[in-house]
C-alpha cells in the first residue's frame, strides 16, 4: 500500500493538532539549531540537494555554542602533532588518532569559509587567527549563509520522532510548531540528527535546549548509543548565576570556605586538580575570588570570556576583590562524550539514512571518556556536521526521486501516543525534578558506586513507567514537554546503566568502588534499549599508540572550559 501524503496524518496522529499539519518534502532533513546542524545543512546543500532544517528554538540562539564564546581545536599545521598527542593522552588510550587528525584537518580547512561568509576573526601581524569565536556572531553568520544557499529553516519547531520506511531506513521526521499550534511532517530521504547532547535542564549556559531528544529518536528508530557513562561532566559557575559555565577566569581564583579559611587555588604540581572543587563542595559552601589575575590576565579574559563578566557587572560584583559563592553545574553529555553511536567516516548510524553530528553523536573517537570540552567539541561540530551532511546527501540521491512515496510509519514510542481518551496523565514537572534528583548531586553522579547507581536506576525505572503511560496532550506545549520528559528519563537510564556496567574509573567516569583504571578495559561501551536496557563492549583493536619522541612541552587546553 502506498500512503499518499494526505493520508499520512492517519498513520501518525497526535490527537487534534494534525488537522492543520504542515507537510513538506526535502532530500535531507537536518534536526537541530547549533553549529553541527548548520554545518550539516550547508554541506548537504552544497551537494545540490534540497535541505530543510528544523530546530526546537531558533537557529542562531539555540544550543551551547550560540550562547557564549568558544575556543576551536584548530591549531595551525605546525602544531597539529602536538595537539593530536595531547588529545590522545587525555583520552587514556581510547581515542582514535586517525579521527583526531581528520577532525583537526577538516576544521582547519573549514574556518576560512566562515571568514569568507562574513565572520571577522581577530588578527595578529596581519594574519587572521581562526581559533575561537564569539558564539552569537558565529551563529548569525551561519544562519545568514544557510538562507543564502537556499536551506529552508523552521524555527521553534521541535522534532519529536523519526519516520521509518518499511525497509527500516529513515524517511523523515515529525514534530510540532510550538508557536503555530500545529504539527509538521517533513518527508525526506535522509536525516541528520544534530540536536545536541543532554544537560538535564540544568541551565548550564545555552544547554536547556539540549535534552537528549536526538538520542531517544535514534534508539526508537533502531540506532545505538555509545560511551554514555561519559555523561557526568560538571562545570564551575557562580552560585547566584548558576548558568555561565566558563572555567577559564577561575584559573586565577583563590578559594575559601564559609568561614573564610583558605582552600588554596585548586592546583597540584602546577596543574589544575579536577577533584578539588567537587571534593570541596561536598564538604560545604565554597567561595572564589579572582585575585590572582594580573592586569594582563584581566585584559585577555574579559575580551574572550565576556559572558562570564556580564553577570558580575549586572549584579554589581567585583570578582577580583569580592568572594563569590561558586557551584558545579551538570553539563551531562554536552561536555561529556556520550551520544549516538556513529559507525563510519560519514557519521552514519545503524539506521540506514540516519546520520549523527555534533554533541548528539558520541565523541569517543576524539576524547574517549574525557570531556570533549569547548574547543574539541567546536571542531567536532564543524567536521562531523559536514561529513554527516555529505553522507546524508549522497544517501538521499541513492534513494531517488520516489523516496517520498514510500510507506512510512512514525517511530516514536514514549511520551507521545494518545491511544485512549481515558489516558493516565503524568506530571512533567515531577518527572523532570525526579530525573534531576538522581543526576545533579555530586554524591550520586560524580562519586558513582554500584549501590548508588542501582538505587538511582530503580527510581528512574519508576519514572520510566510513568512516562510510558499516555501523556496529557491538551496543548502543543504538552506534547513537547511530555516528549522531553521521556527523553530525559531515557538518557538518565542509559547513562547510569552504562556507568553501572563499566567497573573501573576512567577519565570522568569515577567509580568509588573501582578506583583504578583497568588497562584491560579498552573498549567503547555501546548501549540502547527502551524498556529493556542493554550494554555491549566494542573492543578497540587498534594497538595503543605511542607518541614519537619530540619536545613535549605541555599544550594548554584549547577548550575555554
Amino acid at each position: 500500500m502506498i500512503v499518499k501524503k494526505e493520508d499520512l496524518k492517519l498513520v501518525t496522529s497526535y490527537s487534534d493538532y494534525s488537522e492543520n499539519e504542515l507537510q513538506l518534502e526535502a532530500d535531507v532533513l537536518v534536526v537541530g539549531g547549533g553549529p553541527a546542524a548548520a554545518w550539516a545543512a550547508w554541506a548537504a546543500a552544497s551537494q545540490g540537494v534540497k535541505v530543510i532544517i528544523v530546530d526546537k528554538g531558533f537557529l542562531g540562539t539555540s544550543g551551547a555554542a550560540a550562547a557564549s564564546g568558544n575556543g576551536i581545536m584548530a591549531p595551525s599545521p605546525e602544531n597539529w602533532d602536538k595537539v593530536l598527542w595531547e588529545r590522545y593522552r587525555a583520552s587514556k588510550n581510547l581515542a582514535s588518532l586517525r579521527w583526531i587528525e581528520r577532525v583537526i584537518e577538516k576544521t582547519w580547512l573549514s574556518l576560512p569559509l566562515v571568514e569568507s561568509w562574513g565572520y571577522n576573526f581577530p588578527k595578529e601581524n596581519g594574519e587572521s587567527v581562526r581559533q575561537s569565536y564569539y558564539g552569537p556572531e558565529y551563529m548569525r553568520v551561519l544562519r545568514k549563509t544557510l538562507l543564502r544557499v537556499g536551506v529552508q529553516i523552521l524555527d521553534q519547531s521541535p522534532a519529536l520522532e523519526l519516520l521509518l520506511a518499511e525497509d527500516g531506513s529513515v524517511a523523515g521526521a515529525r514534530g510540532v510548531q510550538r508557536q503555530n499550534n500545529r504539527t509538521y511532517v517533513v518527508r525526506s530521504n535522509a536525516v541528520v540528527l544534530a540536536n545536541g547532547g543532554c544537560a538535564f535542564l540544568s541551565k548550564a549556559l545555552g544547554c536547556n535546549t539540549n535534552t537528549g531528544d536526538g538520542m531517544l529518536m535514534a534508539v526508537e528508530a533502531g540506532g545505538e548509543l555509545s560511551s554514555m557513562e561519559a555523561s557526568n561532566h560538571y562545570a564551575i559557575s557562580t552560585a547566584f548565576n548558576a548558568t555561565v559555565t566558563r572555567g577559564v577566569p577561575f584559573i586565577w581564583a583563590s578559594y575559601t570556605d564559609e568561614a573564610g579559611n583558605d582552600l588554596g587555588c585548586g592546583y597540584i604540581d602546577g596543574r589544575r586538580d579536577p577533584a578539588f572543587l567537587p571534593n570541596a563542595l561536598l564538604k560545604g559552601p565554597v567561595y572564589a575570588q579572582l585575585d590572582r589575575a594580573t592586569p594582563e590576565v584581566k585584559a585577555v579574559i574579559e575580551k574572550s570570556h565576556f559572558i562570564a563578566f556580564l553577570p558580575y557587572k549586572k549584579a554589581g560584583i567585583d570578582p577580583y576583590t569580592e568572594r563569590v559563592p561558586v557551584t558545579l553545574v551538570l553539563e551531562g553529555t554536552v561536555r561529556g562524550t556520550g551520544g549516538i553511536r556513529i559507525i563510519d567516516d560519514h557519521c552514519s548510524t545503524k539506521v540506514p539514512g540516519l546520520y549523527a553530528a555534533g554533541d548528539a553523536a558520541s565523541r569517543e573517537f576524539l576524547a574517549g571518556l574525557a570531556s570533549g570540552g569547548g574547543g574539541p567539541n567546536a571542531a567536532w561540530a564543524i567536521s562531523t556536521g559536514q561529513w554527516a551532511g555529505v553522507g546524508a546527501a549522497n544517501f538521499a540521491k541513492s534513494v531517488g526521486a520516489y523516496g517520498h512515496e514510500r510507506v512510512v510509519h512514525a517511530a516514536g514510542q514514549v511520551g507521545l501516543k494518545s491511544a485512549s481518551p481515558t489516558s493516565v496523565t503524568f506530571d512533567n514537572e515531577a518527572i523532570v525534578h525526579g530525573v534531576q534528583a538522581e543526576m545533579f548531586p555530586l554524591e550520586k553522579n560524580y562519586q558513582r558506586s554500584e549501590e548508588k547507581l542501582l538505587d538511582s536506576l530503580a527510581k528512574l525505572e519508576t519514572l520510566w513507567q510513568q512516562v510510558r503511560t499516555t501523556p496529557k496532550q491538551d496543548t502543543v506545549r504538552d506534547i513537547e514537554t511530555s516528549r522531553r520528559s521521556a527523553a530525559l528519563v531515557a538518557v538518565a537510564r542509559w547513562s547510569y546503566f552504562s556507568a553501572l556496567n563499566r567497573k573501573e574509573t576512567r577519565s570522568e567516569h569515577i567509580r568509588v568502588d573501582y578506583p583504578e583504571t583497568d588497562p584491560n578495559q579498552r573498549y567503547y561501551q555501546a548501549t540502547g534499549g527502551l524498556d529493556q536496557l542493554w550494554v555491549r563492549r566494542d573492543w578497540l583493536t587498534e594497538p595503543i599508540a605511542t607518541p614519537p619522541v619530540l619536545n613535549t612541552q605541555p599544550i594548554p587546553a584549547l577548550s575555554k572550559s
Binding site: A67, Q131, F240, S304
Partner: protein
C-alpha cells in the same frame, strides 16, 4: 532570568518571541510581548543581544526572582549591555575581532 520587557522602550517587533531558544515570550497584539513562561528562561541573555532597542533585561540570577525597577535600570545604562559587548546594532561593528581567546595559552598561570 528575564525580568523586564520595558513598555517604555519596546517597539512591538516581537523579535524576542522569534529568537528565544526556550520560547519564553508570547506575542500580544499591538503590545509588547509578554513574559509568558519565565520558568523556562535559561538566562542565556540571547534575547538582550537581539533586541534592537535595548528593551529587555535578563537579571543575572538564574534560579531566583529578583525585584527590578524599570526606571532605575534604564537610568543605570545597563540595558543593552550584551548587545554593546557584541558590537551589534545600528552604527556598530561586530566586536568578534577583539576576541582574545587565542592569547589565553600565553598568559602566566598562577603559581
Amino acid at each position: 532570568m528575564i525580568e523586564l520587557v520595558s513598555h517604555k522602550l519596546c517597539i512591538n517587533c516581537n523579535l524576542c518571541v522569534q529568537v528565544c531558544p526556550t520560547n519564553v515570550f508570547d506575542a500580544v497584539p499591538n503590545q509588547p510581548p509578554a513574559i509568558a513562561r519565565q520558568e523556562d528562561c535559561q538566562t542565556c541573555f540571547m534575547c538582550e543581544a537581539y533586541c534592537p532597542v535595548d528593551a529587555l533585561y535578563v537579571a543575572p540570577e538564574s534560579h531566583t526572582n529578583v525585584a527590578i525597577n524599570e526606571d532605575d535600570l534604564i537610568a543605570s545604562g545597563i540595558m543593552g549591555e550584551y548587545r554593546r559587548i557584541l558590537g551589534w546594532g545600528y552604527g556598530r561593528k561586530s566586536n568578534s575581532e577583539l576576541d582574545t581567546a587565542h592569547k589565553i595559552r600565553q598568559l602566566p598561570r598562577p603559581k
